[in-house]
């Protein structure tokens, strides 16, 4: 039941061509060390699912810049001009979803469900008529036009947790929670990095954000400069 492993063998399980969910909204919650190891090992043709593209030189931006990413599924990549440039030049395929819809599509996979019905963006260019159903959602006589959003699955999730135990129970903090608990539920194999790895029993049961049943592997990592304040924002 001890899920702690070395980073090299953990990341080596990810093959080229894999679909990988990556936690984080901007820097907070981004698993920088796991991503650096993925960069080092050389897997390519990746499909990444992350809210954003990080900022140039950080996190998944490094993988994009090294031509290792075919497709990025995201909500907004405005803080990464290089990724926008690659998208515009056709080097990087990007699929955008509204941020909460992206979150919910991931959660839907994590909940073992197949899709959900939403009215977000239904009258905008992001919706195709083929995605619409008419359904009676309440006791009113008329049916309502709704968009079917399907679950978003992944082979792997790379997660940054503030604290973890050896069973794989996870606690996040601050705005570094974001997509991490959702992706930890959704992906088939869930690899977690943390600075703070403890013995089971260290956390009060109702404060655990991700229960261990969802987690495959926990890697202990060191605090490196990427996790510290980004000087250009201070």
């Amino acid at each position: 039941m001890n899920k702690q492993k070395e980073i090299t063998e953990t990341i080596a399980k990810i093959p080229s061509g894999a679909t990988v969910m990556v936690g984080g909204f901007g820097s907070p919650g981004t698993p920088f060390t796991l991503l650096d190891e993925l960069l080092r090992q050389g897997q390519d043709r990746l499909t990444l699912i992350k809210n954003d593209a990080n900022e140039p030189g950080y996190g998944i931006a490094k993988l994009i810049e090294a031509d290792r990413v075919d497709t990025l599924i995201a909500s907004h990549i405005g803080l990464n001009r290089q990724a926008v440039g690659r998208m515009n030049s056709g080097q990087l395929r990007v699929e955008f979803y509204p941020q909460g819809i992206l979150a919910e599509k991931i959660r839907t996979a994590g909940a073992g469900l197949f899709g959900f019905l939403s009215d977000i963006g239904i009258e905008t260019e992001i919706t195709d008529p083929s995605q619409i159903i008419e359904w009676q959602v309440d006791k009113s006589v008329t049916k309502r036009k709704l968009k079917v959003e399907t679950a978003l699955h992944a082979d792997f999730a790379l997660i940054h947790a503030a604290r973890a135990d050896h069973f794989g129970n996870l606690i996040y903090t601050d705005s570094a929670i974001n997509f991490n608990p959702l992706m930890a539920m959704a992906a088939e194999n869930v690899f977690v990095e943390t600075f703070d790895l403890q013995a089971p029993g260290a956390f009060p049961p109702e404060q655990i954000h991700t229960p261990f049943a969802f987690v495959s592997t926990v890697v202990q990592v060191d605090l490196s400069p990427e996790y510290e304040l980004m000087e250009h924002y201070v």
Partner: protein, 229 residues
């Protein structure tokens, strides 16, 4: 609150926008002008700011010594947390939005039109960095106020008869605050509520593509319309 020097047009929008923020309202402030509004609130103001990356109860922008690397708002600023704040995952954050628990949202605009349609996420062929939280905020906030300069940097109107850019959401805007006027979207059209003190009603209409309605008066008069600095 101390704040950096800003252009007069910007200051005027932000000062007026700050008046919209009432105690006890849960507020979301979009990237751009809206995130600057808290600089124009009293220091002791009881604002309840939601940031869609997963915070309810954002405090002021963090000074260097306070900043935590794990704590940014949706605009990417290091922020502080006020007493009674909470942090949560993105599905809870957008549940709060879609469930209608955001009382007031302020967003920037590329274009806004007389039906209350908003375009602020994409300029085809020029700018399409993604959707972010804008669609859900625009569609679901209980009250949506657009903050924008009245005209773009080339002097062209941003308040149109009908948006030409891809919409963020249709019929979602309640009020538009610019450096020239405060305008409400009503079933009858765009109703001017306030005009900046340095501008005439005629000038305002000339800077606006959509027809404006001036209360109790005609296009050249301004009685019944409050003046603001």
């Amino acid at each position: 609150m101390s704040k950096p020097e800003r252009p007069v047009r910007t200051e005027r929008i932000l000062l007026r926008a700050a008046q919209e923020i009432k105690s006890g309202l849960v507020i979301n402030l979009g990237i751009g002008l809206p995130t600057l509004v808290p600089d124009y609130l009293p220091d002791d103001f009881d604002a309840l700011i939601h940031s869609e990356n997963g915070i309810l109860g954002c405090g002021p922008i963090a000074k260097r010594a306070q900043a935590r690397a794990s704590l940014i708002d949706a605009a990417g600023h290091y922020v502080t947390l006020r007493s009674g704040s909470s942090c949560f995952d993105s599905s809870v954050s957008f549940s709060m939005i879609r469930r209608g628990r955001i009382d007031l949202c302020m967003l920037g605009a590329f274009e806004v039109d007389q039906s209350g349609n908003l375009a602020n996420w994409k300029i085809p062929g020029k700018l399409s960095p993604g959707i972010g939280g804008a669609m859900e905020l625009a569609q679901k906030a209980k009250r949506l106020i657009v903050l924008s300069t009245h005209t773009d940097k080339h002097g062209r109107p941003k308040i149109l008869e009908r948006c030409r850019l891809p919409l963020t959401a249709p019929v979602c805007v309640n009020r538009i605050i610019t450096d020239e006027a405060v305008i409400d979207v009503t079933p009858d059209g765009l109703l001017v509520q306030e005009i900046a003190e340095n501008i005439s009603a005629e000038e305002l209409q000339n800077h606006t593509e959509a027809n404006l309605i001036f209360p109790k008066t005609n296009l050249t008069g301004t009685s019944g319309v409050r003046r603001f600095k």
